[in-house]
């Protein structure tokens, strides 16, 4: 589903965000990216989404070599990839329902599809009762669940999560992880960058550890360190 081959990415001033990284992630896998701040976790994720381009190396996502993908096809690539972030990136002037519906609306899904899909996904993340609320009226955990609903409403093949529990307390984080596991169980590949030792240690999924841009460990049923 995802394949990196000797990928190197350097930012201005010789900062190596990723150095000769190779990895192969199968369909339906759940993978943690761990490592200290600045080790290249976010770059890894942004490369998969084609928000960044590698300096060297090749990347395949969902069967496509994304470096040769022409720019007008990038939006269609992104429809196969859901993304969630530490800061949720919800639109403050839209309700929960509208935030999720927006993701379908802007890729041209017909109204009747939106009317059935959005309530179903809000039910799945447990926010059916809050669909009329705005993001600022919700707790952090609830906001993250809205953003997961938005990322997953189009049933993507891959879900990329960049520190999704970074702003949440441990109890709420467990809830979010349950939700991601549920999504993973539907066959969606999940790649999650995290700092959270206890989450990684309790879930025992595949762990890829990065250190200053280099993959130093790739372990099935791994722990944080």
């Amino acid at each position: 589903m995802i394949r990196l081959e000797n990928v190197t990415k350097t930012y201005k001033g010789d900062v190596h965000a990723l150095r000769d990284a190779s990895a192969d992630i199968q369909k339906g896998e759940f993978v943690f990216l761990v490592g200290p701040s600045g080790s290249g976790k976010s770059t890894f994720i942004r490369l998969l989404n084609k928000e960044e381009r590698p300096d060297r190396g090749r990347i395949w996502v969902a069967g496509k070599d994304i470096d040769t993908l022409s720019s007008w096809k990038v939006p269609y690539l992104r429809r196969n990839i859901g993304c969630i972030f530490q800061d949720y990136k919800l639109l403050a002037n839209k309700t929960v329902y509208e935030n999720v519906a927006f993701a379908l609306e802007v890729i041209g899904r017909p109204k009747h599809v939106i009317r059935t899909q959005v309530p179903a996904i809000l039910e799945l993340v447990g926010l059916a009762k809050k669909e009329r609320n705005r993001p600022h009226e919700l707790s952090g955990g609830e906001q993250q669940r809205v953003s997961i609903a938005r990322a997953f409403v189009n049933r993507p093949l891959i879900l990329l999560a960049d520190e999704p529990t970074g702003n949440l307390d441990p109890t709420t984080s467990v809830g979010i992880m349950r939700l991601l596991e549920k999504i993973n169980a539907t066959g969606t590949t999940v790649v999650m960058a995290t700092h959270d030792r206890s989450i990684v240690d309790t879930m025992r999924k595949r762990v890829i550890e990065l250190d200053r841009g280099t993959i130093v460990r790739d372990q099935i049923r791994g722990v944080y360190a």
């Binding site: 939006p75 269609y76 992104r78 429809r79 990136k89 802007v106 041209g108």
Partner: protein
């Protein structure tokens, strides 16, 4: 992928409302600049109408008597052609004269219909001299006044010349001002769109993330610029029509120079000028927003 019409219209309308002051500023600039363009074009059209007989360097006209014989007409024509001071001669038949008359007075039907047949109009020779010296031209023309069959010789008046020069200068000045303002209007529209893009950067970020196509993101902004250009041009159209009516009223009340009696612009001239303004307005709006979208949208 089909763009959803209701989505595009909703987004465009909310952008226009959100940036009301900037939208208003660009609108006013479009109106003023396009009104000036319209005025300049109408001045040109008006002068052309007022001086139709004197175009292409024609300096004097030898009018024949309506009942002049063909021999008399040919004699004058041959003599003109052989004259070394004459560069070009053109014969105007009764039908030509009738057509010109109809054209000249098409907006005053009462007067126009007084002449209902080409037969009562004189034929004429339109003469372009090879010299521009007014005294030589005067002398050449006067030779024909006493020829048999000649009714009269009419010279281009100094006033016509003066009107030509003054109107050309006026038109050019107005056109330059209009062009400068048009560029300003384009830049203002560009900045309005840039502000709209900035105000909606979070939404644009999310749209890119979930895979909205570039055109889907661009179109509402481009439409916003186009609408500003279109509304501005529409208002300029109205201004031009009103301006033309006012001038025409003045001219008919006889408050202006006698020469301006013919200085009118017909309805169809005004409307074709108006259509041109609409096209230019839409073009300026679309180009301005197009540049903003490609420079600041980064999609």
């Amino acid at each position: 992928m089909a763009l959803r019409v209701d989505y595009v219209l909703r987004e465009t309308a909310s952008n226009l409302k959100r940036n009301f002051s900037l939208t208003f500023a660009s609108l006013i600039t479009v109106v003023v600049s396009l009104s000036l363009v319209g005025a300049a074009l109408l001045i040109r059209q008006g002068v052309q109408n007022a001086t139709q007989q004197w175009q292409g360097g024609v300096e004097f006209i030898v009018y024949m008597n309506p009942d002049a014989s063909q021999d008399q007409i040919d004699a004058v024509g041959n003599s003109l052609r052989e004259n070394p001071e004459v560069a070009d001669v053109e014969f105007f038949t009764k039908d030509d004269a009738f057509r010109e008359f109809q054209d000249l007075y098409r907006d005053s039907p009462e007067f126009r219909d007084l002449v209902d047949s080409p037969d009562i109009l004189p034929t004429s020779w339109r003469v372009t001299p090879s010299t521009s010296d007014p005294q030589v031209i005067e002398q050449v023309g006067q030779q024909y006044v006493s020829q048999p069959g000649v009714y009269t010789v009419a010279f281009e008046q100094d006033a016509v010349e003066a009107l030509f020069n003054a109107s050309n200068a006026l038109r050019n000045g107005v056109l330059v001002a209009a062009l400068v303002l048009l560029v300003a209007a384009g830049l203002l529209i560009l900045n309005t769109i840039r502000t709209a893009i900035f105000a909606r950067r979070r939404e644009i970020e999310v749209m890119k993330l979930v895979g909205a196509t570039n055109w889907f993101i661009r179109v509402p902004f481009m439409l916003e610029g186009m609408i500003q250009g279109l509304i501005g041009a529409g208002l300029a159209y109205g201004t031009t029509v009103i301006l033309n009516d006012v001038i025409q009223d003045r001219a008919q009340e006889g408050q202006s120079l006698a020469l301006l009696d013919n200085f009118f612009v017909s309805g169809s001239d005004v409307h074709s000028t108006g259509l041109l303004l609409l096209v230019v307005g839409v073009l300026v709006g679309t180009v301005g927003s197009g540049i903003a979208v490609t420079r600041f949208l980064d999609v």
